[in-house]
Symmetry: C2
Subunit: 290 residues, 2 copies
């Protein structure tokens, strides 16, 4: 059996086919240009394989409410040409298979959840947060993707300011100093003039970032009580997560008992950014069998 995966990002698309072991059999990558060209390439790719179901993990915002008239659409994205594009509808016309549609971070969250089940880890709920060009998050609660009215937008929560960061206004176009405005990659450049990948390891900006990322982990802990909080995205490194765990402990101050913090706040188990593709295979499989 072959299952299809589209990881639809704002800059590139990754299409893949895999089997029911969720192993990648073939994959292709191309830049995100116009919807016609990009979705055309995806359709052309999947027509070469006999896939039985497809799952799409897409950039957003997207409409995931089944009952909505614009279900399956990318909605009011600032990305030129992509506003109100009927992503699922266009694919459905050309590929006659069940299609599951979710956010990029939900795809990654579900991939990590699936791997945890395959490894027999006692994980029923988890959160996946990505800190990259933006900040996004998805959660799996008792095996189900969280978000019935719409998908979460966990990147835009407000936070307590770091004392050494009070002069920085924040760069979220909606909220200025929300999590994304304070801790996504571009905020590093806005503060230091240098892109995150080139900033010295001992720069104080890392302590500022970890303070905010730790607060996001605290919020998720207090609201969702997940088994794991997983961090991905270009800004995240094991070095930064060490600081995040340190700040989490300080901010939590013993209030919620976390038995293994190293494992609680961690990087993805699936390597090479493969969480979303694996998640898509599992979600496509589920879509076929429901």
């Amino acid at each position: 059996m072959l299952l299809g995966s589209i990881e639809a990002g704002g800059t590139k698309f990754v299409c893949a086919v895999g089997n029911e072991d969720y192993r990648v059999k073939n994959s292709v990558k191309f830049p995100t240009t116009t919807p016609e060209e990009t979705l055309g390439k995806a359709i052309e790719y999947f027509k070469k394989f006999k896939i039985e179901a497809l799952s799409i993990a897409s950039f957003g915002p997207i409409d995931v409410q089944y009952t909505s008239k614009t279900y399956g659409f990318i909605t009011n994205t600032p990305k030129p040409g992509w506003k109100n594009v009927d992503f699922v509808g266009l694919l459905k016309k050309e590929l006659d298979v069940p299609i599951f549609f979710t956010t990029d971070v939900n795809g990654s969250a579900f991939g990590e959840y699936t791997v945890a089940q395959l490894f027999n880890e006692k994980i029923k709920s988890l959160v996946y947060l990505t800190i990259g060009t933006g900040v996004g998050g998805g959660a799996i609660i008792d095996g189900e993707i969280l978000g019935t009215k719409g998908h979460p937008e966990m990147g835009h929560v407000y936070l307590k300011r770091h004392p050494a960061d009070s002069g920085f206004e924040g760069i979220c176009p909606f909220h200025k100093d929300c999590l994304e405005g304070l801790a996504a990659g571009p905020s590093i450049k806005a503060r230091t003039g240098i892109a995150g990948e080139k900033v010295a390891q001992d720069d104080k900006v890392w302590d500022i970032l970890s303070y905010y990322i730790a607060q996001a982990a605290i919020q998720q802990t207090l609201i969702l009580r997940p088994d794991n909080i997983i961090f991905g995205g270009g800004v995240i490194s094991e070095r930064l997560l060490k600081k995040v765990r340190r700040d989490f402990e300080k901010l939590n101050n013993g209030y919620i008992d976390i038995d293994d913090l190293e494992n609680y706040i961690r990087m993805p188990r699936v390597k090479n950014n493969g969480s979303a593709t694996l998640g898509n295979f599992a979600l496509a499989f589920n879509e076929l069998h429901k």
Copy 2:
């Protein structure tokens, strides 16, 4: 059929029996003294009725994990005498009926959820936040109580400070300036020297509180995407919620589309603090039929 409800608060217990219409047939109130005396009174009360199931909505922290050795216990509460009390076990010994055990706020959340279903409202998910002596919260997601590893502790999230409140340290014994430390009833007295019920309506403390309560609503919106956020507790009034809605709109800044804010951020539908009792009846009924 008779169903039992215990609303176990830190200062008082409310025991009630009701029928499968979730109407109160009889109820009694007594102060929370020692566990022996208080639970003894509850047992004595329910022995007078032929209840078929019981639900307890308790102050916490409590252990709600079925697989845990201390399931059904009140755990490390600061309340003298109540630490590590086997609440469910002690009742089970004397009352031979199925018992459901959850937090006070989960009970209230489930009561409001149940009423919404009875009124045919299109509500699948909601959050109940209480702002009283402390701040607590519970959520119902697709009809299920949220929190598998443990119950939420939504009152202790960190927030962006109100510019006119930067001189106030916050009074949470764990975190100082978390939501509870900044917005619970005692914070009003700590700032003004006057208890909340006596502070003038035009005092600026109400704008400070509403700013924090609105941020809590923003967080819940971004993380859980519920259909409604319901506020209870002594500090909450329709007057304060007006300010909360105003601040919510400013802080959201059009990011998440809320069609009817008046209905989205609101007081409980069940009057006279009856949400938890009604929720208990529904939870007891479910416990009997699962």
